[in-house]
Structures are given as C-alpha cells and as structure tokens.
C-alpha cells in the first residue's frame, strides 16, 4: 500500500508538526504529549474544552482546535486511545479557573485513560468533568459493551459546547448542553473499502469488489454485517433508516444533517448521498435546517460514508450557527 509515510511510529508526530507549521499564529504543538492546543489557551474567562481519542480520524480531533471549538486535542497513536499520562498532562496544561471539560468518544480504552486521568487531575485540584459521546446506532444491540460508539456526531457536541464555552458558560452548563446534544444525535456508517493503518501497511479487512461493510465504526474494525453493493439510493436507505428509527426522528422535526466521508470517498459522491438523504427526510416531513457535507470524522483512507442527524431546538441551532474557526480549512 502506497502512503506518504517515513517511519510508521512517527506518523502521528509528523502529522501534528505539519498542522502546527501550517497554523503558526493560532496553534501550539507540545510533542511530549502529542498535544495540539490553541496558542491562547488556557484562558481564565472560559472553560477549556479538550477532546482526546486515537489518531486517524482527522479532521477530528486535532484539526478541530480553534475559537468556538476545542481548546486542545490529545490524540493517541492511530486508532489507539491516548496514554493516560498524555491526558493527565494535557488536563493540567489546560487548567482554567473555570475548569476543564473532557469530550470522549465512547470506547473502552478512551474511557479507561480518561477516567484515570480525571481521577489524578481532580486530586491535583483541577475542576474537570468528562462527557462521553455515543451516537452510533450500528451497535445499539451490543448491550454488553461499554455501550454505543462515538463517531461523527462528536463534531456537533464540540461545536455546541465550544460555542457555549466561548460565550462564557460554566462547566455545569456545558455538561448540560453536551448531554442534550448527545441525547438527540444519531449516526450510522458503511464502508466500501477497508482502511490501511500505517503501522500495519495492509487493509484491516478484505472486501470483495462488489461488497460493502455495514455498520462500521471509525477504527477500521469490521461492522455488523457484510452485503452486496446496491445503488446509492438504497445505500442511503441502509444508513438513514436505522438513524431515523432509533431516536426516533419524526415528521415535524427540524434537524441538522451531516454526510461524513470516511477518508477515501470523493466529495462528489458525498454530495450525491446528501441530496438523496435530504429528499428522503423531506418526504418524511423532517426539515433539514442545517447541512454538513464533507469529512469530519474519518477512518484514515476508508472509502465510505456515515449519516448523522441532530434534532434541533432553538438552543442547539443557535450554538451550531455561532462562528467558529479551525485549523482544517480549504481556503
């Protein structure tokens, strides 16, 4: 597999160095802890918002650092939760008088690392709370796991609490807003190809030319089932129906609709998917009030897409509409 890579062990540090060099005025890179933070963080007048998780999901989460979004991101290696020390040191570095909010996608390793780091930080007197994000409906049946996974819906949580934090909300208020967004956000993804982690150098699973993997997460792990490829109209049904049914979203709802690329799908295909999904929702009486098309939370070079819906109320819609600026941009 051909990739831009030197040493797989240096893949993440070299990516982070590039990100920092591209944003010299706004971002700071702390190589000791893989940490990307706003150059002006922590600020005494706002809660610090920190997201951690494995790498390989870019622009989540290291490229979502900026005004109105994250104050810092603390990534692990590709698809691996960050080591506990990194989270602990990040929490201390981002300590603000208003506190620190840790946003964590719901996976076993991330939960353990952040739980332990939070324990140590609290003992140090840091006012820190943790919010777990679990929007993936593909694994709703896995009641024996730590629960559903967090996938692309995490972007809406970051956006909402980021906006509220920028406006001066305190830590308890941010927890309330974050939990509310999580409670109305649902996602579902499918893969057309597997992805290739640099350390492995080969696809994580084999898919036939005519096969798709349904219900994938964002770590290249296989999904719930495999099926034959069908036309885009039916692929959108595969993604949209379980999402709409899970909350459920019903006629009369206003929603944000995100079509997220998993890293290897052209934007043209994502807009095609978006158009179909938008019309299918309209046919059910669900109004798309805000639209998001592109790559938000990827799985390296996996071809595929996920659909996320957020049920909007005035508060959430206002927070999603607030200005924000991040390092990943196209102009």
């Amino acid at each position: 597999m051909k990739k831009f890579v030197n040493d797989p062990q240096q893949f993440v540090p070299e990516m982070l160095k590039g990100l920092a060099l591209a944003n010299p005025d706004t971002l700071k890179y702390v190589p000791e802890y893989n940490l990307i933070m706003r150059a002006d963080a922590p600020r005494a007048d706002k809660v610090s918002i920190v997201q951690g998780s494995g790498s390989g999901h870019e622009p989540a989460h290291v490229m979502a650092v900026g005004p109105g979004m994250l104050d810092a991101a603390c990534p692990g290696d590709v698809f691996a939760a960050p080591p506990m020390d990194y989270v602990y040191e990040t929490t201390k570095l981002l300590n603000s008088p208003k506190g620190v909010l840790l946003l964590v996608n719901n996976y076993t390793g991330d939960r353990m690392a952040f739980d332990m780091a939070q324990e140590l930080s609290l003992a140090d007197g840091v006012n820190v709370k943790t919010l777990f994000i679990d929007d993936d409906v593909a694994v709703k049946d896995s009641t024996w796991t730590v629960g559903r996974r967090g996938v692309a819906g995490n972007f809406f949580v970051i956006k909402a609490v980021g906006a509220a934090a920028e406006a001066g909300a305190d830590l308890d208020e941010l927890m309330r807003i974050g939990e509310k967004v999580v409670s109305v956000t649902r996602s579902m993804g499918l893969a057309l190809t597997a992805c290739t982690p640099p350390a492995k150098g080969a696809p994580l699973f084999e898919l036939g030319d005519d096969e798709i993997e349904i219900g994938v997460g964002i770590h290249g792990e296989p999904g719930r089932r495999r099926a034959k490829i069908v036309p885009a109209n039916e692929l959108v049904d595969i993604l949209l129906e379980p999402v709409v049914a899970d909350l459920p979203y019903v006629s009369g709802d206003r929603v944000a609709l995100m079509v997220n690329g998993l890293g290897g799908t052209p934007i043209s295909e994502l807009y095609l998917v978006y158009g179909i999904a938008h019309e299918k929702l309209a046919a059910q009486g669900i109004t798309v009030a805000r639209s998001y098309v592109g790559e938000y939370c990827t799985s390296l070079d996996m071809a595929g897409a996920s659909i996320t819906l957020v049920k909007l109320d005035d508060e959430i819609e206002g927070l999603l509409a607030a200005p924000a600026e991040i390092g990943a941009r196209i102009f």
Binding site: P8, Q9, G54, G76, D77, V78, F79, A80, A81, P82, P83, M84, D85, Y86, Y88, Y107, T108, G109, M112, A113, M116, A138, V139, D141, S142, W144, T145, V146, R149, P197, A199, K200, L204, F205, G217, H219, G220, E221, P222, G223, R224, R225
Partner: protein, 232 residues
C-alpha cells in the same frame, strides 16, 4: 537465586516478547478489532526496556510498581490501563515483603492482577479477553505449587494451560473491547490478548531452564537449590 532476579527475568521476558511479536499481535487484533494492540503493547514495553536500569529495585513490590506506572501512563489504547493495572495490583501484594517471595505469593499476585483487570475493564471470565488465558494460567501455577513442582515444571504447565485456554477463546463471542462491536462475527478467531498471554507464558517456559543454569553458573556453588521456589 533471589526472587527479585526472577521477577526481573519475568518482566524482561514479557517486555521482549511483546516487542518481538508486535506484528503477530497486531494481525490477530485486526481480525475483528482495529489492529492497534500489537503496536500499543510494543511501544509501551519498549519504554520499559529503555528505562530498565532506572527502576527502583528496593524490593519486588517497588520494582513492579515502577514498571506498572510506566505501562499505565505511557501505553495507549486499552493495553496501558489493563496491563498496567495488572502490574500495579501485583505490586501492591508484594509491597514491603522484601525480595524473597514464593510460589504461593505469585498465585496471590496473579489473582490480584486478575481482579484488577476485571475492575478496570468491567470484564468477566468468558468475555473473550486476556482474562480467559490468565485465569487458567494462574490455576495451573497454583496446582503446580501445591504439588511441590520445580519452577520450570510449573511454568511449562502454566504455558500449556494458557495456550489451551487461548485456543478455547476462538468459538467465544467477544463482549469487551472493539471486537465486541462485531458481535457474533467475533466468533472464529482467538482473542488477541489471550493469545499474547499464551505466547508470553511459552517464552517464559522455554527460557526458564536456561535462566536457572545461567543463574547457578554465575553464583557461588550451592546458592541455587533445585527446590527453590520460582518467583512470581
């Protein structure tokens, strides 16, 4: 032969085996997981080997605690919290007990490690995790100690138990970790963590005799009793 020497030998063998098997463990994990297990474990135990000489060796408990802190703090993924907790829980049992522990102590330390892993990961036996190899391994050691077997014989039996138990995870359905998200599709391949336990136990068993030979050759005659307890 002192138990601290044995402990160092065991920890070094675990670390080296993890580093040597990075690709194998990663491939196992990628069948239903996300393939990061081998990479995470190898990167962490590389740090243990690099920092090897700096660890406080006041007694076995202190040494294991220092190793556990490195693993817990510096290994990413699920491996750091899980494997680090095992070392820290073993250390807590050994703490303040000097550097002469016997087989029964080793069993207590392993039982404590198993309880720690269960608490940290919320896992039970039968969930298709490394616990499914670690518990039978511990049972085998307990039996060997009760029989009065020598260290090499105990390790050989422990390795055989761990291997059989790791193989027996193949038909299980994963209930913890990323493999759990694939539900029934996790059936048909062994758990990567359980296999890692078996591979490490086999490495310990195969080098245990050589360790004792080297140890007796380097120490004064008679210091190494053939009946001496193996350490942890």
């Amino acid at each position: 032969m002192t138990s601290l020497n044995d402990t160092e030998f065991i920890v070094r063998t675990i670390a080296q085996t993890a580093v040597d098997n990075e690709k194998y463990f990663g491939d196992l994990d990628s069948v239903v997981g996300d393939g990061d297990f081998g990479f995470s474990l190898a990167r962490g135990f590389e740090i243990v080997l690099k920092d090897w000489d700096s660890y406080d060796r006041t007694d076995i408990g202190t040494f294991l605690q220092k190793v556990g802190i490195t693993i817990t703090g510096r290994i990413g993924g699920t491996s750091g919290p899980i494997w680090g907790t095992a070392f820290l829980r073993s250390a807590a049992v050994a703490k303040g007990r000097g550097d002469e522990l016997g087989g029964a102590d080793a069993v207590t330390m392993l039982r404590s490690a198993i309880e720690g892993i269960m608490a940290r990961g919320g896992a039970s036996l039968g969930d298709k995790t490394l616990l499914d190899a670690l518990a039978p391994l511990t049972d085998a050691i307990e039996q060997g100690v009760a029989n009065g077997d020598g260290g090499a014989a105990v390790m050989a039996s422990a390795a055989a138990s761990a291997r059989a138990a790791a193989d027996a995870t193949t038909p299980m359905i994963a209930k913890r970790g990323r493999a759990a998200y694939t539900g029934e599709r996790s059936i048909g391949s062994p758990d990567a963590g359980a296999v890692a336990v078996a591979v490490i136990a086999e490495a310990l068993a195969s080098s245990w005799g050589a360790k004792d030979d080297a140890s007796s050759a380097s120490e004064s005659p008679g210091s190494d009793s053939p009946n001496s307890d193996y350490a942890i």
